[in-house]
């Protein structure tokens, strides 16, 4: 997700890492870490604990905007590694453009011992971060998708989340909710295709096949995702607003939920503190009864540019921040970043009920879907495909430019073929 993972500043205390660890004084020097918004803040929060283990490594965290980090990485790689930091944050979906377009711009982390970490993270996170045996970035957070909902408004309309299994149930419940309270079930707009990506991912479909060799955006799973988007739009259960508009709508009680990655927890808590106790989560609806109720939206990783003078210290920092329970749980607790480090899921904090969410153990519920998430591959052409599908979505839903979802997705597939040179699968 390109949106800033808006800070959940509600619990801004320093990350506690008091576990007595053996000090390593062999590594020394300075490293620079570049990330954006809350991601940078979270990494800054890890520095103190890291320095207890590695007192001689001095870490500087640069906080640039999300798009700026990406543009700067591309420009740096195009310039042969000039002006790149030692640790570089990258979104999973966008990552492959770096390994494919600029082979040699980033260090193969297996030379620094990353091979041992493979089993510690779920498979879907590795898809875009590795090329054959090589590993170019270590998984960080992820965005397991759930439905967020207002308990009080659902109750007022007589809806129970337990009865919502499929998207059809969801839409029917949404119409009841709209009649009773005037509130909507979820939101999206036409500057991004995020909700469509969730639906497609849930159906095991995406822009490209898992090998990244053919365009699959007009396959049945993706077409069905587009049909569901149309139903959500036509039935009036969706609020069409942008990010900030959604926050306003939440505060005004005209938006009773969202279907997003776990990172939206922080946004809800920090924007509507007065609604404490009124929120809850339940799994995303399935396409059909008994279908998959899991998907992923967003998530990032950390990589080391080959131009780094101190890759060992950079790897030590990454390992400390991402491949340790205290690092990942600290970032979850303080910044709402959802860990993808599997051992962190057994941490007691994850099992706890959260007061804001009516004492529901939301992290356990959100992370429980991690293992069921189908793989999806952004490939090096993610940006192009996303731009095209976003435009197709708006054309199909609001302009009536196509007779059917199939026609819309066939056209999108042709456009993506023009932009990427990849063949459309099955043609």
């Amino acid at each position: 997700m390109r949106r800033p993972l808006i800070a959940s500043l509600f619990l801004l205390s320093s990350v506690a890492a008091p576990l007595a660890a053996a000090q390593n004084t062999d590594l020394s020097g300075e490293i620079t870490v570049t990330a954006w918004d809350v991601a940078a803040e979270a990494l800054q929060g890890v520095v103190a604990g890291f320095n207890e283990e590695y007192p001689n490594v001095q870490v500087t965290v640069e906080n640039l905007g999300n798009q700026q980090v990406y543009d700067r990485g591309l420009a740096g790689c195009a310039a042969g590694g000039a002006d790149l930091p030692d640790v570089y944050a990258v979104e999973n979906n966008e990552a492959e453009v770096f390994w494919n377009r600029f082979p040699g711009c980033f260090t193969d982390l297996t030379t620094l011992g990353a091979g041992d970490l493979r089993a510690e993270f779920p498979d879907f996170k590795w898809t875009e971060l590795s090329l054959g045996e090589q590993i170019f970035a270590i998984p960080w957070d992820s965005g397991p998708v759930v439905t967020f909902y207002r308990r009080d408004l659902y109750e007022q309309a007589g809806i129970s989340p337990d009865d919502i299994e499929t998207w059809d149930d969801f839409i029917a419940a949404g119409q009841t909710l709209d009649e009773a309270t005037g509130a909507k079930m979820l939101w999206f707009d036409f500057t991004d295709d995020g909700v469509w990506r969730e639906l497609a991912n849930q159906n095991g479909c995406f822009y490209f096949d898992d090998a990244g060799e053919a365009i699959t955006v007009n396959q049945p799973g993706c077409v069905s995702a587009m049909e569901t988007m149309k139903k959500l739009y036509d039935s009036g259960v969706a609020e069409i607003v942008d990010w900030n508009g959604a926050i306003q709508a939440i505060k005004n009680n005209t938006l009773a939920g969202a279907v997003f990655g776990g990172w939206y927890v922080g946004t809800i808590q920090s924007s509507a503190p007065e609604q404490e106790g009124n929120w809850g989560v339940y799994p995303m609806p399935a396409s059909e009864a008994g279908g998959v109720r899991a998907a992923n939206l967003g998530g990032s990783a950390l990589a080391i540019p080959a131009s780094s003078d101190n890759p060992e210290a950079a790897m030590a920092f990454i390992t400390y921040a991402l491949a340790s329970t205290q690092g990942q749980v600290g970032m979850l607790e303080n910044f709402g970043l959802v860990p993808s480090y599997l051992p962190a899921l057994d941490d007691p904090y994850v099992q706890e009920g959260v007061a804001y969410w009516g004492d529901q153990p939301i992290w356990q519920d959100i992370l429980a879907t991690l293992g069921e998430i189908p793989q999806a591959r952004g490939t090096q052409y993610f940006q192009e495909a996303r731009q095209i599908v976003t435009n197709t979505l708006s054309q199909y839903l609001t302009e009536g430019a196509y007779d059917s979802a199939q026609a819309a997705m066939d056209d999108a597939a042709q456009q993506i073929a023009g932009a990427t040179g990849l063949p459309v699968a099955g043609q």
Partner: protein, 286 residues
């Protein structure tokens, strides 16, 4: 003798070297690039791939449509304002001429990144000065950056703000070249100021207006900074211009071949428009 002839050229070498490497070579090389398939590695010669795509690409069509609408709306409005401004600045009644001329020219001197940032703040929906003024007048607030039509209007406003004064100064130079005797003669013949404007000022300004028109059309065809920094080409693709689309293809997607083709499409359009303008406005009607 021989040496004396060479010396001037040695002084020109630094400029010529920079011109050849950073101007002439890229201009020629991008012709070649536009015939390459640069969507992956290695690049391959495939003449039809970019020029074929440009015809069927809905994003290019949208960018072209936006650019043409901008051209049709913004350029005439700006030149009309600039002409009025120039006549005002040329008035013998005006005091502090130097100050006013500088004041209207100043927007061109301001860095475009700086003023784009300021415009983003001024037109901010919640806290912007413009919406505060609208609300003060009892008018509804406008969501400038997030609704398609308003965002487009915003781009028209900013470009007009920036370039009207510049064109006014060019036109002013033209006004000052008109001999005063013509006005005196007209006055003796009993022509009122309005008749003087239509009969003398406008016809004699024609070459300079044509110059300003051609420059503005070329500038608008290449428009990039304002839509890129203020609206990002959005919302949706409402303010996507050819310049912004070229940037996206070239420096986000690294598809240099297609970006080169877009660049040459812009250049061809500029040639076409300039030829049309010279054809229709360039001839002496007499």
């Amino acid at each position: 003798m021989q040496r004396n002839r060479l010396i001037p050229y040695t002084f020109l070498v630094p400029y010529l070297a920079i011109f050849l490497i950073f101007w002439a070579w890229p201009i020629l090389y991008s012709v070649y690039l536009s015939f390459l398939d640069t969507r992956g590695f290695p690049w391959a010669l495939e003449p039809g791939v970019n020029w074929g795509r440009i015809w069927s690409d809905p994003f290019f069509r949208q960018a072209l449509r936006n650019t043409l609408i901008l051209l049709a709306v913004q350029v005439p409005v700006m030149l009309l304002l600039a002409t009025g401004l120039a006549v005002g600045l040329n008035s013998p009644l005006l005091k502090l001429k130097g100050f006013y001329r500088f004041a209207f020219f100043a927007p061109v001197v301001v860095g475009s990144v700086a003023y784009s940032a300021v415009f983003r703040l001024l037109f901010n929906t919640q806290n912007g000065a413009v919406n505060a003024a609208l609300a003060g007048l009892g008018l509804p607030r406008v969501d400038w950056l997030n609704t398609p039509v308003a965002a487009f209007v915003l781009i028209v406003l900013t470009v007009t703000w920036r370039w009207t004064g510049y064109n006014a100064i060019i036109i002013l130079a033209g006004l000052q070249n008109i001999p005063l005797e013509l006005y005196e003669a007209a006055k003796i013949d009993g022509a009122n100021p309005w008749q003087q404007f239509w009969g003398i000022t406008l016809p004699l300004l024609r070459p300079i207006l044509l110059f300003a028109l051609v420059l503005s059309v070329i500038g608008t065809l290449q428009l990039f900074t304002e839509p890129f920094l203020i609206t990002g080409g959005g919302p949706g693709n409402a303010t996507l211009t050819l310049g912004v689309y070229l940037y996206q293809q070239g420096f986000r997607s690294f598809n240099f071949g297609y970006a080169s083709a877009i660049g040459y499409a812009i250049a061809l359009l500029a040639v076409l428009f300039s030829a049309l303008q010279l054809r229709f406005f360039g001839q002496d009607p007499s």
